[in-house]
């Protein structure tokens, strides 16, 4: 495992460098970024091939059907910004996997774009679009937390990294978002069915 050196200063004395292990995923991110900044077009192609589909998919799921053009616009600005800021990866200093960092960037670019020119909700059927409409009414940051957790299936640590928060802070944000969403969803009013009981085998 390649390791990065982290110097810790201990009361005026230089302590022995403390080595922090780096995951294979981050290793791959570092290498790709370094090659891109050396002008390697193959590396750029690999980077886009691997990261564009999940980012575009995330934007499409945030925006909903009929918003493909807007998703493309935001995807382009996301990767444009990302290429300018990929230096920490090339130098082996970034600590967040690139796929999560790109999701965060995409969320930021989307917020900026929607603040500049808000888009109206695409009309959807009553039952089909209810959850999406409830989420759309939440503040942007809470929407982001919910979509990353639900639509992108991130676990707690990944969600925190993608939101740029520590884990407890990310959990607080998500809980607050769920509380607000709960009011709009009306679970207690029985609009949604009860979950299935656990352990039923699917029939072939």
């Amino acid at each position: 495992m390649r390791e990065t050196l982290v110097r810790s200063v201990n009361k005026g004395r230089d302590a022995a460098p403390r080595r922090q292990p780096v995951s294979p995923e981050l290793e791959g991110d570092y290498e790709l970024a370094a090659r891109m900044l050396e002008g390697d077009r193959d590396a750029l192609r690999l980077w886009l091939g691997g990261h564009l589909p999940p980012v575009y998919g995330y934007l499409l799921r945030r925006l909903g059907p009929g918003r493909e053009e807007l998703a493309e616009e935001v995807a382009k600005s996301t990767f444009g910004v990302a290429l300018r800021r990929v230096g920490p990866y090339a130098k082996g200093r970034a600590r967040v996997p690139m796929r999560l960092w790109l999701l965060r960037l995409a969320g930021v670019q989307l917020s900026k774009r929607l603040r500049k020119r808000p888009v109206p909700q695409v009309p959807e059927t009553e039952k089909q679009g209810r959850a999406r409409r409830v989420l759309a009414a939440l503040p942007t940051r809470k929407q982001e937390a919910l979509y990353l957790a639900l639509a992108e299936g991130l676990n707690g640590a990944e969600l925190a990294a993608a939101l740029g928060l520590r884990v407890p802070g990310a959990m607080r944000l998500l809980r607050s978002a769920l509380k607000q969403a709960d009011k709009g969803l009306g679970v207690a009013a029985g609009i949604y069915d009860q979950p299935d009981s656990q352990g039923e085998r699917a029939e072939e």
Binding site: E38, E152, N155, P168
Partner: protein, 554 residues
């Protein structure tokens, strides 16, 4: 982390593993109830939109590529000077550095003798090479190696073969560059437009070190037609992969690997320098070349340290290109091509595999000429006729621990995470045990068989896919694989040997019929037989099954 944050964190972990939250977990927590409900909401979690438009990727690539710095050319080493008295054109065999004695004080008395002997051998080889040069160049049907503009290998086309008149290239003799259409992401869509079976690479190669391959796209180069058409005799296919090599348990190198394929089309490897050798891999013949630079059939420049493997097998040609120093070396290409060429063998030409515990059957009878596993007698501890002879049912257990308690051997379990080549996570859903005899569980029953069902979460083409894999395992007792229908091939794993079967319907050891197309891996490992089954439409691919089997542990 407080209790509320911890419960939410754990709930996310469970959802991330593909296991839905159940009522008893969330009933006292309104926010977790909302999470459980939203996680089942199709318009949030299931709607995936359309795929990424190719035009978006191309446009973004062109835009961002223009912002990249100009790559610095790597210094080209001057060729080493030849020994005095010998022509530089002498084809001296490549000598490993270990063979050269070090110039140490102890070696000095021997240096003169060693050099004299080496010079003598080289002289003899040079004389022989001069005499035999005209007869030593290999002859191929479709491939040719040209070095510095001169043909190094001979070509003999089949009698009656007519060179296709390509519309887009000046000539179809393998030297002109090919223009490839906009890439397709979907394999089946690409296959429909090509008149020969495209050989896609496996997701992982079950050798040491482990290699992983992820297909980025497929491009087609029509020859006689304007757009890709299966009737086009000169069509070429280009597959672009990310190739990863595991250098140690926690580190991988990744690089690009491009594969060109065609049928009955000339393929020329044009180089200036470098070293080459003739290769024979699983019945395919060809050339391995290493050096730089290299221009591939599309006209793309490969610089640095490049490996090229060009093969022909019958009327099929293939060419693999990648960076040697990033893992696409001779060893990898040979292993990969061996796997691909081995997979092509089919029908009467395929040698039948020999197993210790797996019997191939067709129309109710052992497959002709297939070796029969040695007969084993399984005696159950509590006496009585063994259940495996009657396709006895399996009985539900409540946990993996309980399944373990009722079997007399350490159970195998699927790896919780891995890559195939995309990342996946697995978690057990439920299990069942078939006792050796009768219908009552017996503690530590060595003749019992276990069935475990798993959730497997994968990332496929950028989206999360949840699928189920069912695993059966038992010890000492042979298994039969019915190859009357479907397709099958032998699989050599790092830790087992078996058969991959695909088709429908499939009758599993529990007596259930799988009525949608499945992939099934049955393999023997020591004296165990393990079966993995999953639906093809749930993305339970051959690559996934091989990765799960390879990563399995007790």
């Amino acid at each position: 982390m407080g209790r509320a944050a911890r419960s939410l964190y754990d709930a996310l972990e469970q959802l991330h593993s593909g296991i839905p939250l159940n009522w008893s977990q969330v009933e006292d927590d309104p926010e977790l109830i909302a999470l459980a409900q939203l996680s089942r909401s199709p318009d949030i979690t299931e709607w995936r939109g359309t795929g990424t438009p190719r035009a978006l990727q191309d446009e973004l690539f062109e835009d961002l590529a223009s912002r990249l710095p100009t790559p610095k050319p790597k210094p080209v080493k001057a060729p080493p000077k030849s020994l005095a008295g010998f022509s530089e054109a002498v084809p001296v065999p490549i000598q490993a550095e270990e063979d050269i004695p070090p110039l140490s004080a102890n070696a000095l008395p021997w240096v003169g003798a060693t050099l004299a002997a080496a010079a003598g051998v080289a002289l003899v080889l040079w004389l022989l090479a001069s005499l035999l040069r005209l007869d030593s160049a290999p002859t191929f049907t479709w491939l040719q190696l040209r070095q510095d503009g001169k043909a190094v290998t001979e070509v003999r086309r089949p009698p009656g073969w007519v060179q296709p008149a390509c519309r887009r290239a000046d000539k179809g003799d393998g030297t002109a560059l090919r223009r490839f259409d906009a890439p397709l992401v979907d394999r089946s869509q690409a296959q429909l437009k090509v008149g020969f079976p495209i050989s896609f690479l496996p997701g992982t190669l079950p050798v040491t070190p482990t290699y992983g391959f992820r297909l980025l796209d497929v491009s087609l180069s029509p020859c006689t037609t304007d757009s890709p058409d299966p009737i086009d005799p000169g069509m070429m296919v280009k597959l672009t992969y990310t190739a990863r090599k595991q250098v140690n348990p926690t580190t991988w190198t990744a690089t690009s690997l491009v594969v060109f394929q065609g049928r009955a089309v000339p393929l020329t490897v044009n180089v200036e320098r470098g070293n080459w050798k003739r290769v024979d891999i699983q019945g395919a013949r060809g050339i391995y070349w290493r050096g730089a630079p290299y221009v591939d059939p599309e006209g793309k420049d490969w610089i640095g340290d490049v490996s090229v493997l060009a093969l022909e097998s019958g009327d099929r040609v293939s060419l693999y290109v990648g960076q040697t120093d990033l893992g696409v070396d001779e060893q990898m290409l040979a292993s990969l091509a061996g796997y691909v060429e081995g997979s092509k063998l089919g029908g009467a030409n395929r040698p039948l595999p020999s197993f210790n515990m797996i019997q191939l059957v067709k129309d109710g009878k052992p497959l002709e000429n297939a070796p029969t596993p040695a007969a084993r007698e399984l005696s159950c501890r509590s006496g009585g006729e063994p259940n495996y002879k009657f396709e006895h049912r399996y009985y539900q257990v409540t946990s993996f621990k309980q399944a373990q308690a009722y079997t007399g051997y350490q159970l195998f379990s699927l790896p919780p995470t891995g890559e195939a080549p995309e990342p996946y996570h697995s978690s057990v859903i439920d299990g069942a045990v078939r006792p050796c005899t009768g219908n009552a569980f017996v503690s530590a029953d060595p003749g019992a068989s276990a069935q475990l069902r798993y959730n497997v979460m994968q990332t496929v083409r950028g989206k999360g896919i949840a699928s189920q894999v069912t695993m059966f395992q038992w010890r000492f007792v042979p298994a039969t694989v019915d190859v009357t229908k479907g397709t099958w091939k032998e699989v050599q794993l790092a830790n087992g040997h078996g058969v991959l079967w695909s088709g429908v319907p499939y009758h599993d050891p529990d007596g259930s019929d799988w009525s949608r197309p499945v992939n099934v891996l049955v393999f023997e490992r020591e004296d165990y037989v393990i079966t993995l089954i999953g639906h093809q439409d749930e993305e339970v691919t051959e690559d996934l099954l091989i990765a799960l089997a390879t990563g399995m542990n007790r």
